[in-house]
Point group: D2
């Protein structure tokens, strides 16, 4: 089976990563790539690492150019995908890597994003354990619209959902700090993203509860079974292109043991092809997930601080964006969930 694919926003990092993965997907074949300011150029001139897609030219991101494909992946700035999907019709599977269709709560949308609210689509985090049992995966089969999670959100959600869902930790005073690579900030020309500013330096941003990923984390942990979810979440930009290492902590309920916690994580993730819980004493490195759709989780209880500490590593462009999009599309299309998705990280 070969399905045709269009990728909108093909000149950015998320779009480029979709194309890198799709180039070796056994069933999906990219036939259209669109861009905004780079429309008219050859794809290879903008994304020189995509050698086997050198025959493609970038066209304008319009509904007309995107129509007529079996699958459309959108890697557009927030606001842009919401506007264009209304024009796409229902024939294609549409997978949005942006924020426009993630949030269920219109108030949260208004507070953190603003502008038109487009409503939530099935959420592309197949491994999310749900309060009533089962996982988000089931909601993606036969979906025609999918909203891909934010990269920081995926790292924190995977790291905390099993403990929150099992009621082993308090959900109302979560604290997460993430070391994040620069590609998550995209290709836009901003002074603080210049190489000279980033190399040899670490800096925090979105401090104090203002980061847009906050309500999405709350939504996920509530879906997993958390009551009254509150989280202090601080991303720290560090000198690497890819990767998120999320250190997420939660107050452990009295008497809860590491064994109980490991059982909860096992129930959530045993058998998952892309999410792995490391043995006691082991904690992941982001390098082990680079280029792969893999998330690795380590955990420990700090007895003195009475907190669970989980450390989750993933590649923001793969499991955090493009890989999650393809994994979800595979589910929606009835393909093997793992088709076209690398498991081995490119380390060192």
């Amino acid at each position: 089976m070969s399905l045709t694919v269009a990728v909108a926003g093909a000149s950015g990092y998320a779009g480029g990563e979709l194309l890198r993965l799709l180039a070796s997907h056994p069933h999906l074949r990219v036939t259209t790539v669109t861009a905004h300011s780079n429309a008219g150029q050859r794809l290879i001139d903008v994304q020189p690492h995509l050698r086997s897609l050198a025959h493609l030219d970038l066209v304008e991101t319009t509904a007309e150019n995107l129509r007529g494909h079996d699958v459309v992946f959108l890697a557009l700035p927030h606001g842009a995908s919401g506007a264009i999907t209304a024009e796409l019709g229902d024939d294609a599977l549409v997978v949005d890597c942006g924020a426009d269709h993630r949030l269920v709560d219109e108030d949260a949308w208004a507070r953190f994003y603003g502008g038109d609210f487009y409503g939530a689509w099935p959420y592309g985090l197949p491994e999310l354990p749900l309060a009533g049992g089962g996982a988000q995966r089931e909601r993606l089969r036969d979906a025609r619209r999918i909203a891909v999670p934010g990269c920081n959100v995926t790292a924190i959600t995977l790291g905390l959902a099993p403990a929150v869902g099992a009621g082993l930790v308090a959900a109302d005073d979560l604290v997460a700090v993430l070391a994040v690579g620069t590609s998550g900030a995209g290709k836009a020309l901003k002074p603080h993203l210049l190489a000279s500013e980033i190399m040899g330096s670490a800096s925090a941003y979105g401090v104090g509860g203002v980061h847009r990923h906050t309500p999405e984390i709350q939504q996920n942990l509530a879906a997993a079974g958390g009551d009254d979810v509150h989280i202090s979440f601080t991303p720290v930009l560090v000198p690497m292109s890819r990767g998120i290492l999320a250190t997420s902590t939660a107050r452990v309920r009295d008497g809860v043991t590491e064994e109980e916690l490991r059982e909860a994580y096992g129930r959530a993730y045993d058998g998952e092809p892309f999410v792995h819980v490391l043995p006691a004493g082991a904690f992941p490195r982001t390098a082990d997930t680079v280029g792969a759709n893999t998330a690795l989780i380590g955990l420990a209880i700090d007895l003195d601080a009475r907190r669970l500490v989980t450390v989750t590593a993933l590649d923001n462009l793969v499991k955090g964006t493009a890989g999650a999009a393809i994994q979800s599309a595979n589910l929606a299309l009835g393909l093997d969930e793992t088709a076209g998705l690398p498991i081995e990280g490119v380390a060192p």
Copy 2:
């Protein structure tokens, strides 16, 4: 005035940084440098960046070689400095960059370090605000023995002590996650410190309350006025040689405003030459402190999470080690506290 100085452990990173700073100190003159396995070599062959000290040769780290100087700086593995200082006599000012004389509590020593307990010395963090008023600075004047704080400890302590001391936050559920450069781990040959393993990767270590800096943080925050201090503290190794960015959070007491918090930080640090609180909305980068004895602090309240979030940047080898050592020595010797200490970071 010119005082003679010996530096023990001159082939390591902390020793090298002491020498880099001392090379342009107006009143201190290095006459002896000692090492263990590198003894017998020229200093310049081991520390090729110390061009103006090219005339010095490394001799064995023995009490005999260290005696007869006005000041002795020790940059030795923990356990080693405790053993040698007993032999040094009381003529010299001895400043220990290791852990041996930091902890007051012998039980904490036994639990986190083990081996002989040498007892605590005056603690070399001049800016530490004390519960009874005033700062640690006063305890360093005329001191003959000084214990320099651990680098992670300094970052967290500076970031939380004013809030904890003023009772504006709860001290019993602190959470800190630090992005740390590799030089803090020293020059020892460990596989996970190879460049190929570090570049492009972030990883956590000492997770779950086992890091040796934990009791020292508790000791400091108690000195600042904190009751029942508990902290979950996770260092994350990121791809940079120098720098610590500590994101430290604490539950804000009901009704406390950012203005009250800023007043508390102002009381603690206004007028300090090396510790600066940034204005609202600004958060520091480690690059701005590289090579300097400067610590920069940004802070915000996360209203939804009801937590104070402080972000502290410093150079682990300077304000985190060698600079703190020299600053404390300046105080003990009655010199200008800032003598020989850069304020401007080497950025970009």
Copy 3:
């Protein structure tokens, strides 16, 4: 078809990269992994990025453990592979990533390596254009023994061979300087390879004609048709894990134009799946080849200096080692030459 594979030296970087690529090879299946000091451990504990090979355990590198496979890949220190292959018998295809079977000239071996000389095997650089016409590829079909080139050698050879072979440049005064990532130096614990020493720094090594790759470059360029080949070759270690960017220059013969040079490169590489010559004015980045078996070449004539300057980018662990090994094995086994080999680089 499924062939069994053993990888010797599976705990190092070259071995790890062989395994990463083999994990998704359609016809080769790794059944044995061997190591020296890590024997007895689980592979996943030593190479935590190889999630889908988590079932494998490391055994001792002995002839006994390596026998009985269809293909044996050796990623061993030089000297070690020569010794063990004599014991392997002729049933298996043996592909050596080390230096032991690269050099034809015993004197060159003695001068640059020393120790036992094992004799040259068919050389695993399929794209090498040969003086008499055709390419090295033909010599690899049905081979039972293959010597994989050195990574620096491949970069320089691909960059200069077409010009040298076509007689458009003088071969007797070549100059190449390479920016190289640290993984080429392997996982051995050497002080200058510590992350703190590498990050933020560039340094040259093997300066002045002493680098062991020198005779191999001469051998290749002679095979391509060069007379009296002499090359000054300097590798510069730069702060990245993977990648080689070789800037290789040669004196252009009088009257030679860039058009003639481009024709020669076109004759050599047009149609190659893994070697691409960029259009005029374009020069490659190593990032575009990370994790891929791709080599990218840019070229220009410096009219004032009368030199051809070529810039070649590749991933030292893939096209420079493990990818070349698998590509050559594919040829020897009669498989599709590109089987299991990524073309798209992992960028950014």
Copy 4:
């Protein structure tokens, strides 16, 4: 003595580095800082590492604002300084870090830069050995106008001038390849300078004799005594903020020995405070020069290739720009040549 200083272009990297060094200069006191798009802001908001200059505000870069100071440093784009200096009058010492007053040859200016030609000023490379004996230093005493060299130029010139000047190598076929940090490219927002593009990657630019620094290198080596100077010069951008490592090669004349070469370098640089030739077998790292006005040179003869290979390390922002400017100003003002200039690099 305290002289007043204005720095034009204070918001860029060169301007920032001038300020960092001037902040601790014993005789120079910065009273005015100017900028273009950042005029009106506080300096500390644009250069947050310059804590002790937090009292300064950025004003417009106009002749009026620059007049009335003892020294004016210009760190402006080429073309801009030439235009403004005509308006400054002769009272102040004017030191230009840009290209406008470096080239003697108007044709070379027209070919590589274009636009108005402003004529050459005394050239700020004090250590440059001159053909007739002596060094460039003498031409800087009492100068009222100084043109600071380009950073790549300084690295290549220092590395080759003694050999070229002594006639021990041929000047007509020089080849240099430089690993350069990103700060040399400035703070302008260019896509290829984004951190995500630079980290983990090396790339060449200005390939094929088109780099603007080429005629300046030829001018310097001719001044040192070279006949018919031709050089192929390729800068390679590598993932570090600061530093240049120049590998420069030249054909050795028949019979010349390393001893003769070392004597020539000794004659040129022995006693220099900032330029050091390393012993045989030693080659420099850029890290050893970070933040310092130091240049380190290693050299070897490649007997087979019959080329001298020199490796020169320096910090492009210090010895390559701001340090050279201050060193030259010290000479022109009759101050100690080393005043305010660090010798020790900030390593690791």
